[in-house]
Symmetry: C2
Subunit: 233 residues, 2 copies
């Protein structure tokens, strides 16, 4: 799997995101016309991530958001109940969208090594397609209410458990060595997350997402099975 192929199989554009967001919050958003609502939600969404990812959500004022989105203060409040609700709306929508896509991406392989590679690829490629949201979600999780915070944690743990489950199966089948599945899963997740946390660094060094993903898969397999693993892409 490479990024170009992956991106053709999923619907994760800004427009997809905002359609999902509108549908889930139909009653709270005062604007009737579907097209107008989605269009302006896109501007709000993009502005929120742009400003927040630079200075932090807490430091972003509604006036900042008004200026960056091109909508007036009054208009903003026809689209969102308040700053808090904006945060939760974006987080919840992203969680649903990414959860659904990861589910459909991982099911195909049989061999544990292939499964592990597929899971790593899916996570890195998805975080590439939705990098601003992933970064936002990681950095702003602290500002959520208790319930939302719990959901965000669970969603993260699911990723890690997926890696650990694959590794455990590989061990049982004798394909992997006697590695600690939880620790291995933890460091693999750390490597996967680095792609969206330090994206500027990789962009500056001209590391493509395909090359990064291949490197992480290689390192993960070297961690999980003994001996050389030169045959992997």
């Amino acid at each position: 799997m490479n990024y170009a192929r992956f991106i053709r199989t999923v619907a994760v554009s800004r427009s997809d995101f905002c359609q999902e967001m509108l549908a889930a919050n139909r009653q709270a958003i005062k604007i009737k016309k579907e097209a107008v609502a989605v269009g302006n939600l896109e501007r709000i969404f993009e502005a929120t991530l742009a400003v927040s990812n630079q200075k932090g959500f807490a430091a972003m004022t509604m006036r900042d958001l008004s200026k960056a989105s091109g909508l007036s203060m009054g208009a903003l409040y026809d689209y969102l109940g308040g700053k808090e609700e904006l945060l939760e709306m974006i987080q919840a929508t992203g969680r649903r969208l990414t959860g659904r896509i990861l589910k459909q991406s991982v099911a195909s392989q049989q061999d544990p090594a292939e499964q592990l590679a597929a899971a790593i690829h899916a996570h890195i490629f998805l975080s590439e397609a939705m990098q601003p949201w992933f970064f936002f979600s990681y950095m702003e999780a602290r500002h959520l209410g208790d319930k939302e915070k719990r959901l965000a944690k669970e969603s993260e743990q699911k990723t890690e458990r997926l890696f650990a489950t694959i590794i455990r199966r590989g061990r049982r089948q004798g394909v992997f060595r006697e590695v600690d599945p939880n620790l291995a899963a933890a460091v693999i997740k750390a490597m996967v997350q680095d792609w969206y946390l330090k994206r500027w660094k990789y962009a500056k060094r001209r590391v493509s997402v395909d090359r990064y993903a291949a490197f992480v898969v290689d390192t993960a397999l070297r961690c999980c099975r003994g001996g050389a693993v030169e045959e992997r892409a």
Copy 2:
């Protein structure tokens, strides 16, 4: 090297930190008596990290800080020029302190594999000893002014260059395989950073800092040299 031994060789207590902080800001801090100043700086320092690491620095109000530190609003301003300056004071002090200690910790080994292990150990152990500061520094770097932000970035890059340099030397000596030194350094740093970014997770799973460091060293060496590396602790 293990954590217990490491911690005996370095001076990184809260008191050490605040002495350093006072010395570097002697003119800006209005309190004359050394002992009083350091004592209250400790309370301010601890309160700042505690509140910020829970809700974020931007969301922490000076009233929060006043309550958490036990000092009145008025007294706070005898110790710091303002919220912004407090942030920069803490960041700059931490940067100096960690920079100095890392420098003194890495110089000893000769063999590239041993050097890499030493560098990983030093970074993980230091981040364990000063976890709240490392977490704070990572999460709040965005809120710094341009000059401070640049210094923080440089300090991070230095770590990564250190790893890459060791790996390059190992390649030249034929101890390591033809691995990309920059990518390898990047994922090693990601694993190292995970220790202070997800510390609660590891605490809950009862993973000790020694076990985590050993696992990262093992994975890093599996990444850098071909074949099995079972002989390492």
